[in-house]
């Protein structure tokens, strides 16, 4: 897999805005960002209300995903270009989610909304009308999703990568620093996890670093690229970004995203936890 198979840049998007069979999809942490202005023709997916089951603590199921994409006017053979704010946190999460349900024609806009804005490119408020489709999803591809028991079993055996900020890893903070401190019952990290903040994989403008820089980043932090890997953060969005770097850019085959992440692990009874700066 090459970088161009999974990433497009802002120039490419601007040149292909009117391509048939291409759908731009914005997914932001700040779910009001799209309404204030978005790339022309883009549709919005609200990660909180549309990607999460409103009752059960989990994703929408296969039927729910089919209904969502049908309602957005996305067909099975459409090329979906995802982008979003906060350096593509939730766009990367949505990318992983699309892959989970078997949509392979999907790419990320490198740098996401921030790169587009820093380039001073056009944003519009017109919302496109797309006729509904009859989208068919596949069963979840569990080769890219880790669950809590796998994480506990992976301690000391597989690569565990904690991609949160250093203060979250050490236990000083329970949440990213732009959020009030809430959520899990305990602070800290999974024993034997390497601390490699997601941000190290990105440049200031939100674009991904080069393959060479990424490979050096992970190997110098002690990650054995020949071993199975699980990445986690707090709720699975920042670790989607790292999962993308490892699997989609570096081409590692067995990389899973633990979407339960610290919100789940830090509230489990009886699992081992480490505090401190670690490695």
């Amino acid at each position: 897999m090459s970088r161009s198979d999974v990433l497009v840049d802002t120039d490419w998007v601007e040149a292909h805005l009117d391509d048939p069979g291409l759908v731009l999809v914005e997914v932001d942490e700040d779910v009001s960002a799209y309404d204030k202005g978005h790339i022309r023709g883009a549709v919005k997916i609200d990660w909180k209300t549309e990607l999460q089951d409103p009752v059960r603590r989990d994703f929408v199921d296969r039927t729910g995903f089919e209904q969502l994409l049908s309602s957005k006017g996305i067909a099975n053979d459409d090329l979906v270009i995802l982008y979003g704010g906060n350096n593509n946190w939730f766009a990367a999460y949505a990318y992983w989610y699309f892959k989970l349900y078997g949509h392979d024609r999907v790419k990320l806009l490198d740098g996401g909304r921030k790169k587009w804005e820093l380039d001073s490119r056009e944003l519009v408020t017109d919302v496109p009308t797309r006729p509904a489709t009859e989208y068919t999803a596949k069963d979840q591809d569990l080769s890219i999703r880790a669950f809590r028991d796998e994480v506990v079993d992976a301690i000391g055996k597989q690569n565990l990568i904690d991609v949160r900020s250093p203060d979250e890893f050490s236990g000083k903070l329970l949440a990213p620093a732009h959020l009030p401190q809430e959520q899990s019952q305990r602070a800290g990290h999974v024993p034997t996890a390497a601390s490699i903040p997601w941000s190290k994989a990105a440049n200031d403008d939100g674009t991904f670093k080069s393959d060479e820089e990424l490979r050096a980043l992970y190997t110098e932090a002690g990650v054995d690229l020949g071993k199975d890997t699980i990445a986690y953060c707090r709720i699975g969005e920042r670790s989607s970004h790292t999962w993308f770097a490892l699997r989609e850019l570096l081409g590692l085959e067995n990389v899973k995203n633990y979407d339960g992440s610290w919100t789940e692990y830090g509230s489990l009874v009886g699992v081992p936890i480490e505090l401190g700066a670690g490695k």
Partner: protein
């Protein structure tokens, strides 16, 4: 009050549900020629220069972080290659205020 990881609105007033006694808040305003700048990017760097969080300034040019106690740097990015660093110290129970001019 935000839940999960939804981005909190960047406004001048702390949300009523935030208990300041348990938070070390870094809050500031970005201005250009005396006017607030919305849609600038404020990122929080720890004492080693590591990225910790980033927000987009709201309509009043406001950004806010809930940090750990200690020394931090706020880096403001904006279109046109603007990048301005400002040092700040956070302490639980206090709001450290910043005025950033770009």
């Amino acid at each position: 009050m935000t839940q999960g990881c939804a981005a909190p609105e960047q406004t001048a007033h702390l949300p009523a549900t935030v208990d300041l006694n348990n938070e070390a808040v870094i809050q500031g305003t970005v201005t250009r020629d005396g006017a607030p700048v919305s849609s600038a990017y404020a990122r929080l760097l720890d004492s080693s220069g590591e990225f910790t969080a980033e927000v987009v300034t709201g309509e009043e040019g406001v950004f806010r972080f809930f940090a750990a106690d200690g020394d931090w740097t706020v880096r403001v990015l904006a279109a046109g290659g603007v990048s301005v660093d400002t040092g700040v110290t956070a302490k639980t129970g206090e709001v450290a205020g910043l005025e950033v001019t770009i």
